[in-house]
Amino acid sequence: MSKRNVLSRRALLGGVAGTVAAALVAACGGAAATTGTGGGGTAPTQANPFGSTVPTATRPAASTAPASAAPASAAPSSAQATSAAGSATAARAATSPAASGPITSTGKMTYWGGLIFSDDANNLLSQTVKDWGRQNKIEIDVVMINQNETNTKVAAAVESNTMPDALDMGIDLMLLLSNTSKLTALDDLYAKIGAAQGGWLKGTEDATAPAKFGGSRNGIPFGVSGNLLFSRKDVLQKANVQVPKTWEELAVAAEKVTKPPLYGMGLALSNVGDGNLQVSVLQSWGGRIASDDGKTVTLKSPETKAYLEWVTGAYKKGLFPPGATTWDGAGDNNAYLAGQAVFIANTGSVAITAKANKDDELVNNTGFSALPSGPKMKISSFGPNVRAIPRGGKNIDAAKALLEYLSNPDFLNKYYKVAIYGPVLQNQAKFDAFADPIRAGLLDLAQNGTAPGFPDVSNTAYADFNNNFIIPKMVQRVVIDNYDLDRAIDEAQKAGEAIYAKYK
C-alpha cells in the first residue's frame, strides 16, 4: 500500500488544529465585531432585558424635548422624515403617564419589529425606532423578525426569559400570551392614544376587547390585515361577467371563466392559514363552529352541510386549480401571479408583488372588492396587529413611550403608504395613504369588516380549532377521500369537540 494514500498524522493534526483555531477565532471575533459596529450586542440582545446586571442608566428627559432637540442630522433622509414625524408625539409623550418623567432604560433595549414584504416599510419602522432611541439617548436594538417565525421565536424567548422590551405580533399570539399572563396591561396608553386620534375604530376596539384578553388591553393596535377579493378585470370583461357580490355568484362566474390552465376559484382548500378562509365562508352560510358562549361545538348543522355541498360541488366542477387542497401559504399568490386564477382572496401582498415584478398586465387588470357575502350573512374577517410589551421587563415605561411614539399620525401615514395594513384609529381614515385602491379596500375592511371569529367567539379553543385546519380538512375529506358530506361533517364535529374539550 502506498503511504501517500493515508492521511499523515502530522497533516491531520495540523489541519484540524489550524482550522479549529481559525474558525473559533472567527466565530468569536465576528461576534465581537458586530457587537461594536451594529450596536446589536450578541448576548445582551437576549440576555439584557431580563437577565443581566447592567446598572440602570437613568437618562434625562430628552425624549420629551421638542423635535429640534433630536439629532436629525445623524439620521439618513428617511430618518429625518420620521424624526420630524415623530416630534409631535415626542412632545406629547411628556404628558403621558408612561413618560411623564424622564425615560429610563436598564441596559440596551430590544424591539422586535414585524418583518413584512415591503422593504420600505421595514426600513421606515426600523429607522423610526432608532430615531426614538437617539432622541432619548437610549440604546435600542431593532430586530426585524419574519412574521412567519414570530411564534417560534417567542416560544423560545418566553421559556428562556429573553423576551424583547417590545414586539409586534398578530392578535392570535396576543391571545395566547395574554391567557398565560405574559403581557403588560396597556389600558392607559391605549386610552390615551385613542383619545388623541379620534378614538379607535369599532372593529379594532371590539377585536382587542379586554374580556377576551385576561381583562386588560395588552396591545396597541397599529394596523389591520384581512382578505380582499382580487379579480381579473380583463377576464371578467371578456366573459361579460360582473364582479360577484355573493359566493354563489362567484362560483357561477368562475364556471364561465374557467378554461384550464386558467381557473376561476383561486382559493386555498389546504391546511394553511389561507385555507381557513373557508371558516368565514362557512359562517356566511350560517354555519357555526361553536355555541354563543364559545364552549360547545355546533358544527354539525344543515347550514354546514349546505356550505359543504356548495364548495365541494365547485371543486368537482373543476373550478379550483389543481393542487388547491395541498397549497402552501403562497399557493393563491403563485396561481394569481402566474395568471392561472381569476379570483383570489388576499391581504394585498399579491398586488404589491405584481407591482414589484413589473407585471403591468396584471397590475392594470386587477380589481379589488370586499369578500362576497353568503346566503345568511357577509363575513369579512380582519385581525388587528398589535405592538405589545412583555410582562416583567425592566424597561416597561420606556417601551410604553416607544409604543406611543410609534402611534403618531405622521409616521403611520408614511408607514401605511408602503405597508399593507388598514387603519385602526378614526383619524387615520383621512390619511392620504388610503387613497389608492388596495388600501381603500383595507380601509373599508377596517371600518366595515367583521371582528375575528364573528359570529363565533374568538377564544383560545377557536384559535386551536383553526390551527388544526378542521374546516379545510373537512372539505378535503369529501373532494379527495370521497367521504359523503355527513361523514365528513361528523368527523369534523368530533375533532372540534376534542379541541374544545381541552379548554373547558
Binding site: 493515508v6 492521511l7 461576534a31 458586530t34 440576555a47 414584504f117 430586530v143 412567519n148 423560545a156 407585471d359
Partner: protein
C-alpha cells in the same frame, strides 16, 4: 485443453444472449445507459431548474414557465448579494459549520476510541445514550436548549451556535466513528505499543491515519448537517449580521410572498460550497478506502 474448452464454451452462449442493435451496440448496454440517463435527469433536473429560475426576471418566473430564461438576468444575484448581504450569511455558515465539524470530530475521535478500545463499566450504556442523544429531534430540544443558551449568555452569537450544534454533531460523529474504529483490528495499535508507543501515540500514529476515510466521511456529514440546519439557527440568532445561510434564505420568504428569484440564486450559492466539498472529499475518501482495502 480444459482451459481452451472453458474459454470457448461460454463465448457462443454470451453472444447468443447479447442481442445487438443495428449499430452493433448490445441492447443490454443501451438499456443500462438509458436507465442511467433517466436517473441523471431525475437527479439533475431540480438543480437545473434552480439554476434557470435564478437567471429569470420575477415576472418571467411566474408568467413564462419555460425551460430556458427568455431574458436572462443577474438581477436576482444582485439582489441577493448587494441588498440582502448574502455573503455575510455564507461567511457565518462557514464559520459555524467548520468550527462545529472540526471540534466535534476531534472530540468524537477521542470518545469513540475510548468506547471501542478501552474497557470500563457502563461503556455500552454510554454508547447507547450517545445514540439516543443523536436521535432526539431538535424540535423537542429547542426550548430546553434556549433556556441553557440564555443562562450561558450565548444567545445571538456564532460561537453559541457552534456549541449548540456540537450537542448534535458530537453524538452523531461519535456513533459513526465507533463503527469505523471497530472495523480496524486492535492488533495494529498493540503492535505499536509493543514497539514502545504510548496508547495515545498509537491512536494518533496508527488508528487515526488508518481511519482517515471515516474521519473525512464523518466530517462531511457533520459539516453538511450544520450547514443546512435551520430551526436552531432561527431561534438562537436574532441579528441580521449573524444569520446563517438557511436563515438568510428563510428571510427571503415574508408572509405569503416568496422571492423565488433570490431564493433560487441563494440556493445556488449555498449549494456550491457543499458540492465542492463533496467533490474534493469524495476523491480523497475513495483513495482512503482503497488503501484500507488492501491492508493486512
Amino acid at each position: 485443453m480444459a482451459t481452451v474448452s472453458r474459454a470457448q464454451v461460454p463465448a457462443p452462449a454470451q453472444e447468443q444472449s447479447e442481442a445487438r442493435s443495428r449499430f452493433g451496440i448490445p441492447w443490454r448496454t443501451i438499456a443500462i445507459y438509458v436507465t442511467l440517463l433517466i436517473v441523471c435527469l431525475i437527479v439533475l433536473f431540480p438543480i437545473y431548474w434552480m439554476l434557470t429560475i435564478s437567471f429569470k426576471t420575477s415576472r418571467d418566473i411566474y408568467r413564462v414557465p419555460s425551460l430556458f430564461p427568455q431574458a436572462p438576468t443577474l438581477i436576482n444575484y444582485e439582489t441577493l448579494l448587494l441588498k440582502k448581504n448574502f455573503l455575510v450569511n455564507i461567511r457565518n455558515s462557514f464559520i459555524v459549520a467548520s468550527a462545529a465539524t472540526f471540534v466535534s470530530v476531534f472530540i468524537s475521535a477521542l470518545a469513540s476510541y475510548s468506547l471501542v478500545r478501552l474497557k470500563y463499566r457502563f461503556r455500552g450504556a454510554i454508547g447507547k445514550i450517545i445514540l439516543l442523544a443523536y436521535l432526539t429531534p431538535s424540535s423537542l430540544l429547542f426550548i430546553p436548549l434556549s433556556v441553557l443558551v440564555a443562562q450561558l449568555n450565548l444567545g445571538n452569537s456564532l460561537h453559541g451556535l457552534v456549541i449548540v450544534y456540537m450537542t448534535f454533531a458530537t453524538p452523531f460523529s461519535t456513533w459513526l466513528l465507533m463503527g469505523y474504529f471497530k472495523g480496524i483490528p486492535p492488533d495494529l495499535e498493540e503492535q505499536a505499543m509493543v514497539d514502545g508507543a504510548t496508547r495515545f501515540g498509537a491512536m494518533m500514529r496508527v488508528l487515526l491515519p488508518l481511519s482517515a476515510p471515516g474521519l473525512v466521511a464523518v466530517g462531511i456529514f457533520t459539516f453538511t448537517g450544520a450547514w443546512n440546519e435551520l430551526l436552531l439557527a432561527l431561534i438562537f440568532i436574532t441579528s441580521e449580521d449573524k444569520r446563517t445561510v438557511p436563515v438568510g434564505l428563510q428571510y427571503l420568504i415574508t408572509g405569503d410572498v416568496f422571492l423565488w428569484g433570490p431564493i433560487m440564486a441563494g440556493a445556488v450559492f449555498s449549494a456550491l460550497p457543499v458540492m465542492i466539498l463533496y467533490f474534493l472529499a469524495q476523491r480523497y475518501m475513495v483513495q482512503g478506502l482503497a488503501a484500507g482495502s488492501v491492508k493486512g
